[in-house]
């Protein structure tokens, strides 16, 4: 990984406390606004929770309206409402996390937390297909006991493992 050389007008570049020309944490960088703009892990978890909570009411309705108990055997039964509401949950989540997030970079959760999903090379939203594939790649994050989801805690670009595979960034 290579870091861009400090711009010539960077007043920090010659100070011994900044040996690599990088800005200190939290200080605005001259000529490198992108380095300070990666979204934090907390904001990303918050956005994910919002997106998750959007789908929860449908799941509750599916279980409450769609499930009953067989009078004769006492075993749980499911009716059409169960499938209808779970399908609705998938449709709403798909619209939110794939169509909306792919088109604008912001699902409802990301909008609420003020963060955006963009391509690493383009800086633009990644499209509905890209957002769908990225959510599939989240499976890789969960494989090793969820370690992939923790990558943004220490990664220089605050990418999850899925972000690295899909070459995506979440920015403020």
């Amino acid at each position: 990984m290579s870091y861009p050389p400090p711009p010539p007008n960077d007043p920090y570049s010659n100070q011994p406390s900044q040996p690599y020309g990088q800005p200190a944490y939290g200080q605005p960088a001259y000529g490198q606004p992108a380095t300070a703009a990666y979204a934090g892990w907390g904001a990303r978890v918050g956005a994910y929770l919002v997106d998750y909570l959007v789908a929860v009411p449908f799941g509750i309705l599916a279980v409450v309206l769609g499930m009953g108990t067989d009078a004769a055997t006492g075993l749980p039964t499911i009716n059409a409402f169960y499938y209808i509401f779970f399908l609705l949950a998938i449709v709403v989540s798909g619209y939110n996390r794939w169509f909306l997030a792919g088109k604008t970079g912001q699902s409802w959760g990301r909008k609420a937390l003020g963060i955006r999903l963009v391509g690493e090379n383009t800086g633009q939203p990644i499209g509905a297909g890209g957002a769908f594939v990225r959510d599939l790649a989240h499976i890789l994050d969960s494989l090793a006991c969820g370690i992939g989801y923790l990558f943004p805690l220490w990664d220089a670009k605050k990418q999850t493992f899925a972000d690295k595979v899909c070459k995506t960034l979440v920015v403020r």
């Binding site: 690599y20 990088q22 800005p23 944490y25 090793a144 006991c145 220490w154």
Partner: protein, 129 residues
């Protein structure tokens, strides 16, 4: 607000994990849910992170022995969690300097150390198997 450094962030995550470890047993007791390891479920081979839930729950209950046997890595997370609070406070008070980003070389070295720790943890889990 300034950007937090990596140890501070991991420490904050550890604090969240500690809260989770207090709440989690009540969830499992009432619902019978568990946190299955995908790798172990599919292949039967434990992963380096196996035992961390058990270890976290044991540690917040003060059962150091159980935690050590489940996964010793939890003590590393616990150390960062305990250190993060004073670290943030001392930096906010100006006693300590603001954190500086590491050089690529330091990052690579830390990556190797983390990788070796993961391998060591994996060997430990395989031995437990």
């Amino acid at each position: 607000m300034r950007e937090f450094s990596v140890p501070e962030r991991v420490g904050a995550f550890g604090a969240l994990a500690a809260v989770g470890a207090v709440v989690w047993p009540t969830v499992t007791a009432s619902t019978g849910l568990g946190l299955p390891c995908p790798l172990r479920t599919m292949t039967g081979v434990p992963c380096p992170g196996c035992g961390l839930t058990t270890a976290a729950v044991a540690l917040v209950r003060g059962q150091f022995d159980t935690a050590l046997h489940a996964n010793p890595l939890i003590f590393g997370l616990a150390a960062l969690t305990v250190a993060a609070g004073p670290l943030v406070a001392l930096r906010a008070a100006g006693v300590l300097d603001r954190p500086r980003p590491w050089s690529p070389r330091q990052r690579r070295r830390m990556g190797w150390i983390a990788g070796l720790l993961a391998v060591a943890s994996w060997l430990f889990q395989l031995h437990r198997l």
